[in-house]
């Protein structure tokens, strides 16, 4: 008899786990909170992905098609795990879906519930939601996806745009001391996209450190050398309203200019990633550990990054911390391996 494995969360990580297990002949149940698969990249209509600017459809669209067409995967849309009990080495799980409740026994479980974007309104100094032209990287991602990146306030093309890095990350005031890892690269990518879209528009990036780690660094250089993006060291202290429907970024250029107050047509906040409400929810329901940053905690971050503290429950993707899609997909595969081995051993 084939193994039964439960995957919770249908983002890049969860879809990778589900399709690999299904290819091995496992009966996979995939529980997704939303009415569609694809996770955050789908929700916010990412159009082109770093590091190589390939269309998101190549990656996310492809994973969705593979998942949806695999007959070994049963997808529960708009659903949740409503009850979770250990049954020896197996798990009795009730899935609540629009079609009612269904209880099944699973050999192992993969949690891939991902992240939530930090809500920049929580940090008042950035005036998000106060001014229409202050948006964040997920908003801009969606605007690119919908084909309209004009100023939200008046529908005109922006003449200058500022990116502000580390919004909601590396900030003890908002409670997130960690670095969200992808927002530098996303910002640099979007700066390039804006320069290509509006060749007359000046684009600034205000940074504390630029963390385009590894090969992502190529995009950083490209932004500077080929697209003339202005990179200024200094974190913005305050955003206020300026003349002619502009928003003023006030801060200290710690290397060159000293104090600055520059009016911009549009400001893009590089909001970071958080464990969201789903991480504590999973921790509570499944008896998993949360880390001090609000993400799910692996048993050993180096040796067993895909194992949770509970035997038979595995973790993949951004639910254990900020990471890029490639890492999430890699983890989806690795967790699938762990979950499969556990299921085989306890047959």
């Amino acid at each position: 008899m084939a193994e039964n494995i439960l995957v919770i969360g249908g983002g890049p990580a969860g879809m990778q786990s589900a399709t690999l297990l299904a290819d091995l002949g496992v009966n996979v149940s995939l529980v997704e909170r939303d009415s569609y698969l694809g996770g955050n990249p789908k929700k916010f209509k990412y159009k082109f992905l770093f590091p190589d600017m390939q269309p998101a459809d190549n990656v996310i669209g492809e994973l969705i098609r593979k998942t949806e067409t695999n007959s070994n995967i049963k997808i529960y849309y708009s659903s949740e795990v409503s009850d979770f009990k250990e049954n020896g080495k197996k798990f009795d799980v009730t899935i609540k879906s629009p079609n009612g409740n269904e209880t099944k026994t699973f050999d192992s479980v993969i949690v891939a519930t991902g992240f939530e974007h930090f809500d920049p309104a929580r940090d008042a100094k950035y005036s998000y939601q106060l001014f229409d032209d202050v948006i964040d990287i997920k908003d801009l991602e969606r605007m690119f996806g919908e084909g309209n990146v004009n100023r939200p306030s008046n529908g005109q093309p922006p003449k200058n745009v500022a990116f502000i890095l580390c919004v909601g990350s590396r900030d003890r005031h908002v409670g997130n001391q960690y670095c969200s890892r992808v927002c530098c690269t996303v910002s640099v990518k979007q700066a390039i996209e804006l320069r290509e879209h509006f060749p007359d528009c000046e684009v600034y990036i205000f940074y504390m450190d630029i963390r385009t780690y590894g090969f992502f660094e190529d995009l950083y250089w490209e932004a500077m050398e080929e697209h003339d993006v202005q990179i200024v060291k200094g974190r913005v202290a305050e955003i206020t309203s300026g003349p002619n429907n502009t928003v003023i970024c006030k801060g200290e250029d710690t290397l060159l200019r000293g104090p600055f107050e520059i009016p911009f047509d549009m400001v893009v906040l590089a909001s970071g990633m958080e464990g969201g409400p789903q991480s504590p929810e999973m921790a509570k329901k499944l008896g998993l550990e949360l880390d001090e940053h609000g993400f799910l905690k692996p048993q050993n971050v180096t040796l067993a990054p895909f194992k949770s503290n509970k035997k038979g429950v595995f973790l993949a993707g951004a639910c254990t911390g900020p990471k890029a899609i490639s890492d999430s997909i890699t983890e989806g595969g690795a967790a699938a391996m762990d979950a499969y081995v556990y299921a085989m051993k306890n047959k």
């Binding site: 590396r170 900030d171 060291k233 202290a237 200290e252």
Partner: protein, 225 residues
């Protein structure tokens, strides 16, 4: 004291080190000085930064450098440019408190009677005198053209005919110009006890010895009354 060829006093390194150690031993130091990523948020929000070459980021960085020379360079003018508004402490993403560091350094300058402290506190000697003599901080007769030029262009006019103007105020005043309100001798005695306990008299003695003498006479009078 040694002097260089320009007649400027040479401060020995040992002394600068002593000042730094004094700051570092302050009970608030650990709380105020944490990790700093040179992000400039504190400076971006700092009001005087818009007007002077002054940056709370530099204050914190100098402190973290643990270099007595760098810290010494701030003791003369730098630390006095701060408004003590503590915006920096409110907005630093890493919960540093550059304004608090400045408070520590200023207190050292005052305790040790540094020239910079004397210079900065000079305009306040009238206030101190008024306070110790009458328990008032400000009174009408202190409005004089040569003091507090920042009070605006009409200070000259405002300072003339004070008794008449005082009478024209349509609410009860003491009808005098040297007092804003009356303070009972018992209250004054309590104030002196607080000043004693808090070391205020000692500070006045170190930054303005002649003022201290005048104040001591007043205090003795009130206490023996």
């Amino acid at each position: 004291m040694e002097y260089d060829e320009n007649g400027v006093s040479i401060v020995p390194f040992e002394f600068k080190k002593e000042i730094f150690e004094e700051a570092r031993k302050d009970f608030r130091y650990e709380e105020y000085v944490r990790g700093c990523l040179n992000c400039g948020v504190c400076t971006g929000g700092c009001p005087p930064h818009r007007f002077f070459d002054f940056s709370p980021r530099i204050v914190l960085q100098n402190m973290k450098s643990k270099d007595p020379e760098l810290i010494w360079t701030m003791m003369d003018e730098y630390i006095w440019a701060c408004f003590q508004c503590f915006t920096c402490a409110m907005i630093c993403p890493f919960l540093n408190n550059p304004g608090g560091v400045i408070a520590i350094l200023r207190e050292i300058a005052v305790r040790r009677g540094f020239e910079s402290a004397k210079k900065v506190l000079k305009p306040y000697s009238r206030v101190l005198l008024k306070l110790t003599a009458y328990g008032n901080q400000l009174s009408p007769d202190m409005i004089q053209p040569d003091f507090f030029p920042d009070w605006g262009p009409h200070i000259g006019y405002a300072s003339t005919d004070l008794p008449t103007k005082r009478k024209a105020i349509p609410m009860p005043t003491l009808q005098v110009t040297n007092l804003a309100w009356d303070v009972a001798p018992e209250t004054m005695k309590e104030l002196y006890d607080i000043f004693d306990e808090a070391g205020v008299f000692k500070i006045i003695e170190s930054v303005d010895p002649s003022l201290y003498e005048i104040i001591q006479d007043i205090v003795d009078d009130v206490r023996s009354s």
